[in-house]
Each structure stands twice: as structure tokens, then as C-alpha cells.
């Protein structure tokens, strides 16, 4: 239990997807113009990460890993399917994003409209695939840990996009040099926010 909380908190603050690894930048930069839409996209990312990481964990554990198939037959003990992990992970992610899209369209058409193209684009959001690949690389011990990691990464990404959306709403009144307006200043802001988030670097719970 202690380990699970540790992973959760760590993946929110210390290993933040945006500020520590700069993953998921495309939608982070594009949809962060207003707080309301960014809350929607952030929630979608939490949801997708929270589902895909444990699902991919199970796949990795029982199908892809070296010797993972031995539960079928001891003869498979030498089979290593991990070269398939990219394609399998992406397929799972794409399927789940489709599901989310349908759910959002049904229950919140306004959110669906404001998210526009970016909801299907979650499928290729590097933070999502990154979550699954980090899960594989860090070799989490149980599905609980994998879920905590997925949810934590999602919450970290959510915090990042909501914070930058609020800042971007605020700097709408700033006199930014014309060449930097829009994406340019957002990159600079992200870097500065990354400095602030380094305060968590090295924290051990």
C-alpha cells in the first residue's frame, strides 16, 4: 500500500509527464487556450491513462514479456513477444480512445465539440503511449502499482495543462512581443514551469 501511494505521488509531481519528460506536448500546447477545455482534455487523459496502463500491464505480464506465455504451456517458456509491445499497446490505446470518444459524445456534446479533433488525437498522444512504455520499462510489481502509476501520470498531466491554461488566460493581457505570441511564449512558460516543478526532484516518500 505504501509503495502504491509512493508511486502515485511520485508520478504526479516528481516524474511529471509534461515537466519531467516533456511528453504529450502537442495537445498540451494546442488545447491549453482556455481552462474549461483543458479541464476536459485533462480529465480524458486521466481516464485513458488510468485504463490503458493496467490493461497493457496485464497484456505485458501474460502475453508479451519473455516467458510470459508459460501459463499456457511450459513449452512457451522461451517465447519472447516483447517486440510486439509497440503495436499491441497502440492498438489497445486506440480502441479505448474510441470508447472514450463515444462516451463523451453521448453524455457531453458541448465538451465533445470543444475538444474537437484532439480527442481522437489522444490516441497518438505521446503521454499515453509513454505511460504504457514507462510501465513496461519500470517493471511494476502488481496491477495496483500499474494503475496508480497510470492515474498519477494522468493527474500530473491534468495539473500541468490546467495550470498553463490559467496562465495563458492571464497573459492574454500581457504585451508579448509579436513574434512570440501563441506557441512561442507557451514554450517559454513551459520551461519556466519545469524549473518550478524541479522543486520535487529527489523527494522520497
Amino acid at each position: 500500500m505504501h509503495e502504491i501511494i509512493n508511486i502515485f505521488v511520485k508520478s504526479i509531481f516528481v516524474d511529471n509527464m509534461v515537466f519531467a519528460y516533456f511528453l504529450g506536448m502537442c495537445s498540451y500546447l494546442a488545447v491549453s487556450k482556455t481552462v474549461d477545455t483543458s479541464v476536459g482534455l485533462g480529465a480524458a487523459v486521466i481516464f485513458v491513462l488510468g485504463i490503458t496502463v493496467p490493461v497493457n500491464y496485464l497484456l505485458n505480464e501474460y502475453i508479451l514479456k519473455a516467458g510470459a506465455l508459460s501459463w499456457l504451456d511450459p513449452a512457451f517458456a522461451k517465447v519472447d513477444l516483447s517486440f510486439l509491445s509497440f503495436i499491441i499497446f497502440i492498438a489497445i490505446i486506440a480502441a479505448i480512445v474510441q470508447l472514450v470518444e463515444m462516451v463523451v459524445e453521448k453524455f457531453s456534446p458541448s465538451l465533445y465539440n470543444s475538444l474537437g479533433i484532439f480527442l481522437p488525437l489522444i490516441a497518438v498522444n505521446c503521454a499515453i503511449l509513454g505511460g504504457s512504455l514507462f510501465m513496461q520499462e519500470r517493471d511494476y510489481q502488481s496491477i495496483g502499482q500499474a494503475t496508480a502509476f497510470g492515474l498519477g501520470s494522468g493527474v500530473g498531466w491534468f495539473l500541468a495543462i490546467v495550470a498553463i491554461a490559467a496562465i495563458r488566460e492571464k497573459i492574454r493581457y500581457s504585451n508579448v512581443p509579436p513574434a512570440l505570441r501563441g506557441i512561442g511564449i507557451t514554450f517559454i512558460l513551459t520551461g519556466l514551469m519545469g524549473i518550478a516543478f524541479m522543486s520535487f526532484l529527489g523527494i522520497k516518500l
Binding site: 481552462v35 495550470a163 496562465i167 488566460e169 514551469m193 516543478f197 522543486s199 529527489g202 523527494i203 522520497k204
Partner: protein
């Protein structure tokens, strides 16, 4: 005085559009308004007549930090001679410190104001006064023996990327002084972190770690007494050691209405609350440190009084200020105790809350709108 005014009036046409130096208009304007209250009158919209403008506000802050600055200079000398076991008189201490601190101030102002003027000329806006405060705060939060070129790089980074890209004073998101400090911290960690950070002179064999550095490695013997920490006879950054003088400066800011008492109060409340929580847990010796001792260690008081209250980068809403301050206090103590990499959490806690201040404001505003809509609906229903 009259002669000066006359001289300025005579030079003015050269700097107006069509004059010889029209490109340098904003530089001229900066010097003129520095000396005299501007005579510009707004033509439309709401008028507020007040003798206070941004330059006066900024100069109040500078007056507020002067006691800590002077004491800091003395303390640099005091700590230096203490390391040799000497106790010279006040003036010797002070002069030694002056020799250490003055170059830092000159570099900080020179580089920062240079960039500020350059940007004002290129972008044709007025020279902003904000840097007058930033430029004095930076020397107060860096170690006295910092190499000057590192300081210059950090100041340039902070002024350009922390402020000018947003359009100058009043439009930035991050406190420029803290940005400079954080830049130094991460770019040149060798000089800024570890337990040898704050000693006046690295060359001497004096192992005068700061109380924070000691606490982090669990060294609680010969810990300085609360009295010393409160009045500031401890190693530390130039401006942060004397909580007593910082509080006097803070009182001045509160009386003149420059700083927000809500933020100051809630920063201390947040720090105390977190300290008490750690006392209850008490898992190690650092956690058992009395909560109030955190307030007088390191840069906590300095950050609470001069950094967190920056009116530009803090939360703007009344309720938001309480949350903003409280979270700064809590995070600062949290980082101090939990993060082995950083002995001091105040700087990063404030920077981190600068990130979230607009979000806090957004939430407060949204909830106010909701509340009022509900009230209006209830009134309509009646």
C-alpha cells in the same frame, strides 16, 4: 532643483518625436519620472488622484529591505572574521561585507537595467520601474561569494525570459528575482547547493554550514540558538538571516499598504501548520524540530515578506491570497524536510505557487460567479 527642472525641459524636445534623439525617448522619460512626478494626465475613463505611482511603490519596497541589506553586509563580515576566531569592531565587519556585497549589487543593477533599457528602446515602451526592486532583491538572496559572471548570466536570463518576453513589469508570471535564483541553483549547482553554500568565503577552512544544511544532514549538535537565528547572527544569504529586521521591513510594507497582509499571514500560518503536522508524525529528528523554529531558519521570513507578496505574480483575488500563501508555507516546509536535494524550499515553493496562482484566481472567480448566479436565481424565485 529648479535648475534641474529647467535643464530637463530644455532637453525634452530633442527626445520627442521629430527630435534628434527620438529613439531614446523612453530612456529620457525614465530619468525624468525618476526625478519628478510625471505631469501626464489621463484624458478619458476613470480618474484616481493619488500621489502614489509605481515608482513610489517600488521605492517603498527598497526602503523596506534596506535594514536587512545593511545588517546582511555586517553579517557577511562578522561570519568571515568569526571563522578566523576574530571579533573586530562593527565598522570592520561592515566594510568587509560592503566589499563583498557592493559588486553583486552593481552587477545586478547594471546587467538588469541595461537589458531593461535596451528592451524599452527596441519595443518603444517606457522603462519599467519593476527592476529597481528585483535588482536589490537578487543580491539579498544569493550567496555572498557568488562569481559575478554567473550572477550576470542569471540576471540576464531572469530579466529576459522571466519578464521582458511577457512585456515587462506587471505582466510577468514568475517572480524575476526568484527566477534568477532558481536559474543559478540549477545551472551552477556546485556553487549553490550542498552544505557549504552560504559561507562568506569558501577558501577559508571554516565549516559554517547554515542551520538548514545542518538540519538536513541530521546534525543537531551545536545548532545555533533561536536567539541567534531570530536576530540573524548565522551564516546565510545576505538578506535572509535576520528575521527580526525582515519583520521590521515587513511592518513598514504593511503600514504603507504596499504588501498584502493576507499573503504574509497565511504563509506563516501554512508553515506553522505543516511544522505541527511533522511534529505530530515525528518520524525523524528534523520532523521533531519545533514548528516555530522553521520560521526563523533560512529564507522563510524573507520569502514570506518580500517574495510571496509580489503583487504581480501572487494571486489577485482576496480569497485566493489566503490559499496562495498557505500553500507556499506548507510546501516550503515540506520541501525542506522531505527533499534531500534542496536544503531550502522557500524559493521553489514560491515559484511553484506562481505557476498555480492564475489557476487559484480562476477557480475563485468561477465559484464567485456560481454563487452569485445562485443568489440571483433565488431572488428571482421569491
Amino acid at each position: 532643483m529648479k535648475a534641474l527642472r529647467k535643464f530637463l525641459d530644455k532637453q525634452k524636445p530633442h527626445f520627442q518625436p521629430g527630435g534628434k534623439f527620438e529613439k531614446l525617448e523612453s530612456s529620457f522619460e525614465a530619468f525624468e519620472t525618476f526625478l519628478y512626478v510625471p505631469d501626464k494626465v489621463t484624458q478619458s475613463g476613470a480618474h484616481i488622484r493619488d500621489a502614489v505611482d509605481m515608482k513610489r511603490t517600488m521605492s517603498f519596497v527598497i526602503i523596506g529591505v534596506i535594514p536587512t541589506l545593511l545588517f546582511g553586509m555586517w553579517n557577511v563580515g562578522y561570519q568571515h572574521f568569526l571563522s578566523f576566531g576574530q571579533h573586530p569592531d562593527i565598522l570592520t565587519n561592515f566594510l568587509y561585507g560592503l566589499g563583498k556585497v557592493l559588486p553583486i549589487i552593481i552587477v545586478s543593477y547594471g546587467v538588469g537595467l541595461g537589458i531593461e533599457f535596451l528592451f524599452a528602446q527596441i519595443r518603444h515602451h517606457e522603462v519599467n520601474e519593476g527592476y529597481l526592486v528585483t535588482g536589490i532583491l537578487i543580491p539579498l538572496i544569493v550567496p555572498p561569494d557568488i562569481p559575478l559572471w554567473e550572477l550576470a548570466v542569471a540576471v540576464a536570463f531572469a530579466v529576459i525570459f522571466g519578464k521582458e518576453v511577457f512585456g515587462g513589469t506587471g505582466m510577468n508570471v514568475f517572480n524575476p528575482a526568484l527566477t534568477a535564483r532558481a536559474f543559478l541553483f540549477f545551472a551552477y549547482p556546485g556553487n549553490m547547493s550542498g552544505e557549504k553554500v552560504w559561507i562568506a568565503d569558501k577558501l577559508d577552512s571554516f565549516s559554517g554550514a547554515t542551520p538548514l544544511g545542518q538540519a538536513l544532514v541530521g546534525n543537531f549538535h551545536n545548532f545555533p540558538s533561536p536567539h541567534d537565528m531570530f536576530f540573524g547572527f548565522i551564516p546565510g544569504s545576505v538578506g535572509e538571516t535576520s528575521t527580526f529586521l525582515i519583520l521590521i521591513g515587513g511592518l513598514f510594507l504593511l503600514i504603507t499598504g504596499v504588501a498584502s497582509w493576507r499573503i504574509m499571514l497565511s504563509v506563516f500560518a501554512g508553515g506553522l501548520a505543516m511544522g505541527w503536522i511533522f511534529n505530530l508524525v515525528g518520524a525523524n529528528q528534523y520532523m521533531q524540530l519545533p514548528a516555530w523554529e522553521h520560521m526563523i531558519m533560512g529564507g522563510f521570513a524573507f520569502g514570506a515578506v518580500f517574495m510571496a507578496t509580489d503583487p504581480v505574480t501572487s494571486a489577485q483575488t482576496t480569497k485566493g491570497k489566503y490559499y496562495y500563501g498557505f500553500l507556499i508555507g506548507m510546501l516550503a516546509i515540506l520541501i525542506r524536510v522531505f527533499n534531500p536535494a534542496y536544503p531550502e524550499g522557500m524559493m521553489l515553493a514560491i515559484l511553484l505557487m506562481n505557476v498555480f496562482a492564475p489557476l487559484i484566481d480562476h477557480i475563485i472567480v468561477k465559484s464567485n460567479i456560481k454563487k452569485r448566479l445562485k443568489r440571483a436565481k433565488m431572488m428571482l424565485a421569491e
